[in-house]
């Protein structure tokens, strides 16, 4: 997290209300997400035991999200699954932005490298996303690691494109040209001129990769790749719930589905608001 107070002096006092509101939204969303991750850490998936006396029970105060066909509490399973989703999302976001930054700066060195980066982005974009994730995760032997790496290595393309365009634009500006004439190195220019101008894009881009990564993790596990069907992952839970919709067990799909949706939207809201804070000109968009 970047300290939002850094930009305080840039903000006129008259905007304090919107700013407080935005900060409040960011604080709340992040608090919820952190809470979910912390909760899921404390749930040992071996502790989610079967209890055949209470199979297929609708939601109650004892089991907020009801129970499944093995009598397992769906609330703890969902939280555990969401925790896994967020962890995979975090790995994917960080790795993706790292790849994007490196590629974008490589592309800015000269025309040849730039063509190569553009070609590389196109190459990855030309293969359907989900297919690529499945291919990577299977080639790594499946499992949670396979899914994480599969998701991580496929989400860097859009951020790379954005950064590449930004850097190209900055490179044509007068101050960069001036620095070049003064004999400053490419690295110095990258560090002193380009990075401060694209840092907002990088931070917001990283956060906005989260929802995509989480959705893709859910899709891949929904299709049955990566994790065993008894393990709590949000996609697996949803796939399993399909079997029991016909028998009227609506709670198996509804709550985990809504939970996933809310998590994704929370990341989206957090991302948009962080963008407003870091890049105040966008707040009026």
């Amino acid at each position: 997290m970047v300290n939002p107070n850094k930009n305080k002096s840039l903000n006129p006092l008259s905007k304090i209300n919107l700013r407080t509101k935005t900060l409040l939204i960011i604080g709340l969303t992040i608090l919820i997400l952190v809470l979910i991750v912390i909760c899921s850490f404390f749930i040992d998936s071996k502790e989610i035991t079967t209890n055949f006396l209470i199979i297929n029970q609708p939601p109650s105060f004892e089991h907020l999200f009801g129970t499944d066909w093995l009598g397992r509490d769906m609330f703890t399973r969902t939280i555990k699954g969401l925790g896994l989703s967020i962890q995979i999302g975090a790995c994917a976001s960080l790795l993706s932005s790292a790849i994007a930054i490196v590629l974008a700066f490589i592309g800015s060195i000269n025309q040849k490298f730039d063509t190569f980066v553009a070609w590389f982005v196109d190459l990855f974009l030309s293969i359907p996303h989900i297919l690529l994730i499945i291919l990577i995760s299977i080639s790594l032997g499946g499992g949670a690691l396979g899914v994480t790496i599969g998701v991580a290595f496929t989400h860097w393309t859009s951020l790379t494109r954005v950064l590449r365009a930004e850097i190209k634009q900055i490179n044509t500006s007068d101050f960069v040209k001036l620095s070049e004439r003064f004999g400053k190195s490419r690295l110095w220019i990258a560090k002193e001129h380009i990075l401060p101008l694209v840092i907002t894009q990088i931070i917001v881009g990283t956060i906005l990769i989260f929802p995509h990564a989480i959705m893709h993790e859910a899709s891949v596990t929904f299709l049955g790749f990566g994790l065993s069907p008894h393990e709590p992952a949000i996609g697996i839970i949803l796939a399993e719930s399909m079997k029991y919709l016909a028998t009227g067990n609506w709670w198996l799909a509804l709550f985990p589905g809504l939970a996933l949706l809310i998590i994704v939207l929370l990341f989206d809201i957090a991302g948009e608001n962080i963008k407003k804070i870091l890049d105040p000109t966008s707040a009026n968009d």
Binding site: L227, S228, P229, A246, W250, L254, L258, L261, L265
Partner: protein, 540 residues
């Protein structure tokens, strides 16, 4: 502000979809006539990939419908002639001679004779895709209505093989294409196969046996929730569903829970992993399960009754040695008092396993009592068994990590990692393939690498004795008072329980439940289709 609308819209869509699903079944239309049958036959197997070719594996363990077999099983588990009029074997069970009816025609109007039988069996042995015919040397034509089977070793269970494979016409059979346009001499005639959906058969009016009372039979290849929905929408007469649906009710349908001899169990490799591999490179042995005290502790500590009532949805029957209790060679003495956590702990302690690092899992010489347990992801009851066994074993200090997998994966690790299996056949030679020492590592045979000379001796004796006399020998392979494969002996498997097969049957249909045969592993409901009738019109 847009986001709020998006949240709202998506939430409404989700609720609408779910509501739609759960209310589905309200509007239905019955499209079949009273003289037609529509059946979702199988929740366990799948649509046959190679079509309806007995040589490539089509229903070799159940009624082939399109083809007919030499013998048929009766309800008291004896054999009666079908294509065969008589059959006999020599004194040491190495030669079988079968006399055939001379009035049977295939549906292409050619005559079924000894040549077709010989062709079918020799081809089936060559393909190896259906029945295990490893004991058969060859089949030869004696005359137009007589076939001789020559075996390479005594095999008193060869009579079972005579009841299994549907006979195909040798003149028109083409390997590879026969399956999608099969010709046979069975009660039904092939009409059309819509791959991935259904196969349509019609009554064979020239059938030599009892004619079924239905003119048309459609088999729909839907499984699991699709099969359940098919019944709910009144699209089918009979629908086979997994046990998780056993306690559901559908208006206009009756739930039949049919007895099977299908047993679920876990093999526990009895040899150490010394780095040795089988010919195809799959590793052999598991250092944890190779210790007898681990295997015994599991067998005594696991509570099969609670698994039968829980994981098997209350319709399972506890089983201790893999022989279903309805089989004539079931062994009462193999039963033990299980669910005994204290005894399991005691057995582990005596075996030198102790929890030294306080994590609740026992160790011995630095080896943790922990192993992976594989199950087929598509079988929900196997998943339930794996998860429950893992939870129960933790109570007495053995860590079992369930792993959902598929048979391609499990094929590679079957000799070194425990797997949840399903076995059960009216042919006792399954015990030979599961437990005989020289079958270790051959295909899916003897994955536990059991090598017990007493078990081998009992199986050898059974193979050379008359059917009825052989039953006691097969029993003794399980437990003969001193040794065997069952928990009191080697405890080489952790057999858990027998399951039932659940079918939703339309109330207008009488499937003559009291003449139905026991269903083997992977069996279907058609064994007594000749006796089925429509007692009233289908309710529209």
């Amino acid at each position: 502000m847009d986001e709020k609308y998006i949240i709202g819209i998506i939430a409404v869509v989700i609720i609408a979809v779910i509501g739609g699903f759960s209310l589905m079944g309200g509007s239905t239309s019955v499209e079949r006539a009273d003289n037609e049958l529509v059946v979702c036959p199988d929740s366990h197997g799948e649509e046959p990939e190679d079509g309806f070719d007995p040589i490539l594996g089509w229903n070799y363990y159940a009624e082939p419908l399109i083809q007919s077999t030499l013998l048929k099983m009766t309800r008291n588990m004896e054999y009666k002639g079908d294509l065969a009029t008589s059959w006999e074997n020599n004194a040491d069970f190495t030669e079988y001679t079968v006399k055939l009816r001379d009035d049977v025609k295939f549906t292409d109007n050619s005559t079924l004779d000894a040549e077709d039988v010989v062709f079918t069996y020799n081809e089936a042995k060559k393909s190896g895709a259906s029945l295990d015919l490893s004991s058969m040397d060859n089949a030869t034509v004696v005359d137009k209505t007589t076939v001789k089977f020559t075996l390479n070793k005594p095999d008193s269970t060869f009579i079972d093989k005579l009841a299994y494979i549907g006979i195909v016409p040798s003149d028109s059979y083409v390997n590879g294409t026969y399956g999608s346009n099969p010709i046979g001499s069975g009660p039904f005639k092939f009409v059309q196969w819509d791959k991935g959906q259904q196969v349509i058969l019609e009554k064979n009016t020239d059938y030599y046996g009892t004619q079924p009372k239905f003119d048309k039979l459609t088999m729909v290849f839907s499984q699991d929730e699709a099969a359940f929905n098919a019944a709910k929408n009144k699209e089918v007469d009979i629908s086979a569903v997994p046990l998780t649906y056993a306690n559901e009710t559908i208006d206009g349908y009756k739930m039949y829970l049919m007895d099977t001899i299908d047993v679920r169990g876990i093999h526990l490799p009895v040899v150490n992993n010394t780095g040795e591999t089988t010919e195809d490179g799959s590793p052999i042995g598991n250092n944890v399960t190779a210790d007898e005290s681990i295997r015994k502790a599991l067998n005594y500590g696991i509570n099969r009754k609670s698994i039968a009532s829980g994981a098997l949805n209350g319709v399972g029957v506890p089983n201790y040695d893999g022989i279903a209790h309805l089989l004539p060679w079931a062994n009462k003495d193999a039963e033990i008092k299980d669910g005994d956590v204290e005894k399991a702990k005691q057995l582990l302690k005596e075996g030198g396993w102790e929890d030294t690092d306080g994590d609740g899992i026992v160790e011995k010489d630095g080896l943790k009592a922990s192993f992976d347990l594989y199950y087929s992801s598509s079988a929900s009851e196997r998943q339930a068994i794996a998860v429950t066994v893992s939870e129960q074993a933790k109570e007495f200090g053995i860590e079992i990590n369930p792993k959902g997998s598929n048979w391609d994966e499990m094929d590679k690790i079957k000799n070194c990692q425990p797997i949840v299996w399903g076995f059960g056949s009216t042919d006792p030679s399954t015990m030979w393939s599961e437990y005989y020492s020289d079958q270790a590592g051959v295909g899916y045979n003897n994955p536990a690498f059991i090598n017990n000379s007493a078990v081998d001796a009992h199986i050898d004796a059974a193979m050379t004795s008359d059917r009825n006399a052989s039953y006691s020998e097969w029993s003794k392979a399980s437990w003969d008072g001193t040794t065997g494969i069952s928990p009191k002996g080697d405890a080489a498997w952790l057999w858990v329980g027998e399951i039932k097969y659940g079918y939703f049957v339309d109330e207008s249909l009488d499937i003559s439940n009291d003449t139905a045969l026991l269903q083997p592993h992977g069996g279907d409901v058609f064994s007594n289709i000749y006796d089925w009738s429509r007692t009233s019109s289908i309710k529209k």
